[in-house]
Symmetry: C2
Subunit: 461 residues, 2 copies
């Protein structure tokens, strides 16, 4: 761009002095997100107060040729909200109003900056339920969840964010404003544009309002932890539970490295010698959860679980879930750099994929902790490393490439829930058919001919 | 187009003599679909035998400038598969292979011509379940269901076709071939193109393969019919059931006109004096369906149902469901022309919308039978008329316009599950924001610059 000063002055006119900053102390915390190894300073940050302001900002960007990176809480794990060169960060975290909870239609209308857990709390008070629960739910925003199509621990039974988005209001990269979908549970009025924006990682539009589907709150939960001496046994258990047509809401896996780190961190009494842990939760009507929990415990034992802990209270259930919820934090304490990935495979390939990750870790002499959503086939192989060690970082890169290739060879995907962002751009071209990628690029160019919105993310145009 | 003979000869070379016809007797049955008042002769029909042939056909169309209208069973209700001028009908009904039922991953891979009910039968044998059950399920195809994003009677609990499509292989309007999605239940690899094709009414691509999500088959069903003297009472019952956090799989409504026609047609013993009927089915574990059914019966009685029939056997349940399944056929016997619409409103507006339809019918002196998916807010006001009566047809048109406007004013949509096609093109522009419609048109132009695929449907470009 030609003139940052000109852009800043014009932006100041739109949002007002209070809502703009070019001070390094305000910009530094916006120069990175939850993804390691990536950072870039924006030249300015703005906090728009209305949809009209956002439209005006976007039109200005087209005119003066600067780029815009929308940002919620910045918890993304693929660099989707890391600033682009010569960009303005458009902060949306203060758009945090829950506009309506409509009990009759079971919907919630929210601003994009609402914290996911705040929404959980609000809707559960009304006996309703918003299932998506990404790991960062205490701080991440609904807007970010929609932009990344976030998953979580309850995906096996309840699906992901896209399964709950009924409507999106967004400002397009050329300053037009669209309102897609509504409270009708069936709606085929024209081609489906709404879903194009879900998981669009901030490259197609800036959300100003989101309409979410809610469901009745499940009445009861039963939570179990099972420990296995062999990963295969844990894998077989997952398959056997599903084969019995039981769909737990949560079916999570931790390997030995992760378990040991979690135990060091939390002291909740995880055995140090088990090779794998499954966290299993069923929910629904109490008469059924009781029966399903018994079936699951028997299945775990049949496949050689040497211990199954069964939570007798809500508090104990929360303690058991801590093992999984703290996995990332616990692993991150071991080494200076933690690279969390989310290679995903069809459910029946989970055991094979887990072995493959172990094999690759050995081959490249790296420390990996692997945990994840076993029921979804969505694994998080996490490399514990040190970015200052250039030799090791080279091996890390090669190891991840091999992991992604293995996932693809098993009919999987390079990302189940974290998105492409900057971190996996290079892999997208390898994993998608050329025509798929071309079509994505064509659509981006159609919506954003000047490439001003979150440029360089997902793919280049 | 310049030369039909040239196009026909070139197509003959691609698909072979056996798979092409220009004979009027072959074309006449392809000149219309399930929508009244619309027809157009194609100049040729072809039955491609492979994806390569489809790619070649599409490239040829771009070169010689003829248009292509893909077609399954032609049961559509908005004219989506009615031929365009100067078009070739691309028949896909013979692509009827169920390629795989993957029990471990709970998926089905099918060709687009598979009949919906054949898929139901096949997956249920494996203890699995494919919920979407459009009214025409005995003859319609999965490809058509995906193209229209079809609903059905089980939408309230289980959603619509789009909730079950995990992957689509399609030939684009320029002859490229894309493969979108896979067996991973979580997949955010690039922007979401798959859902753009669901409900695209044949204007964006020709499906060659579809990957569907399955769920465990519910173990038990309980089916009830309740009769009410006032529409408001039926409406209140619907709201009260949902408010009690019971989500029936089916919650269907029939008004008096429809009920009388159904009784004349089926003689299943429906009372002639009731003003409204609700067909309610709960499914799932037997312990819960039993309890929920009791709660529902009590709720119906509380809101003045004068009779509730409870099916004691599978056969009786089927008989009760016949009342709803035969509604359209029964209504169609009364007058020469039956115009079935699907104005849809948020669930809490159902009673208001039903009254509005009655009011409009009286105002325009027309006979309407209204039935539909009350739990989804998806109503089918059906006008019984005679297309030869020009005066009445004018009133019919005005009445439907008023119905659509009323639905929109209540936060609804002009189509819940039938699509826009040709029949509602004029209303799309009125119901969508200009920017929404422009964006749809931009995307169509991006994918189909020469407008060869099902041109003139949904909107003009």
């Amino acid at each position: 761009m030609q003139n940052r000063t000109e852009a800043t002055a014009a932006l100041d006119k739109i949002v007002g002095e209070k809502n703009i900053s070019t001070a390094p102390e305000d910009l530094i915390s916006l120069s990175y997100d939850g993804t390691p190894l990536l950072e870039q300073m924006p030249f300015c940050t703005i906090s728009p107060q209305s949809g009209e302001e956002i439209c005006a900002i976007v039109r200005l960007a087209n005119e003066l040729n600067f780029s815009i990176v929308p940002r919620g809480s910045g918890t993304g794990l693929s660099g989707g909200s890391v600033p682009a060169a010569d960009c303005v960060v458009l902060q949306m975290q203060h758009w945090d109003k829950i506009i309506e909870i409509d009990e009759e239609n079971m919907t919630a209308t929210v601003e994009p900056g609402v914290i996911t857990q705040d929404l959980h709390t609000a809707v559960e008070k009304a006996g309703l339920f918003y299932p998506p629960d990404p790991g960062s739910m205490k701080i991440c925003t609904i807007g970010g969840n929609v932009a990344e199509n976030s998953g979580g621990l309850r995906g096996l039974k309840y699906g992901v964010t896209s399964d709950y988005v009924m409507g999106i209001e967004a400002v397009l990269p050329d300053g037009r404003w669209v309102s897609l979908g509504n409270k009708c549970v069936k709606n085929v009025s024209g081609i489906n544009l709404k879903d194009l924006f879900i998981g669009s990682e901030g490259i197609l539009g800036i959300f100003t309002q989101i309409l979410l589907k809610l469901i009745p709150k499940p009445q009861d939960q039963k939570t179990m932890l099972a420990f296995f001496d062999a990963i295969e046994d844990a894998g077989e258990t997952v398959s056997a539970i599903i084969a019995a047509k039981i769909i737990p809401c949560t079916l999570e896996f931790l390997d030995q490295t992760t378990m040991r780190c979690v135990e060091d961190f939390t002291h909740i009494g995880l055995p140090q010698d088990a090779e794998a842990l499954l966290l299993i939760e069923v929910d629904g009507d109490a008469s059924i959860t009781e029966r399903e929990a018994q079936q699951i415990i028997e299945t775990c034992k049949k496949y050689n679980a040497h211990e199954v802990k069964f939570a007798k209270s809500k508090e104990e259930a929360e303690r058991l879930k801590t093992a999984r919820r703290s996995a990332f934090t616990a692993l991150a304490r071991l080494k200076p750099t933690t690279i969390l990935e989310d290679a995903t495979v069809p459910r029946d390939k989970v055991a094979a994929m887990l072995r493959k990750i172990q094999e690759i870790a050995r081959k490249y002499d790296l420390t990996f902790g692997t945990f994840g959503h076993a029921g979804d086939g969505n694994l998080h192989p996490t490399c514990l490393t040190d970015e200052r060690d250039k030799g090791e970082m080279k091996r890390v890169e090669e190891a991840f490439e091999e992991i992604f290739n293995a996932a693809l060879a098993m009919g999987g995907t390079i990302t189940g829930e974290h998105g492409i962002g900057l971190a996996k751009k290079n892999f997208l071209a390898k994993s998608e058919l050329p025509a798929n990628l071309q079509l994505m690029q064509q659509i981006k160019r159609t919506l954003d001919p000047k490439n001003i919105l979150n440029p360089g993310k997902v793919f280049d145009v």
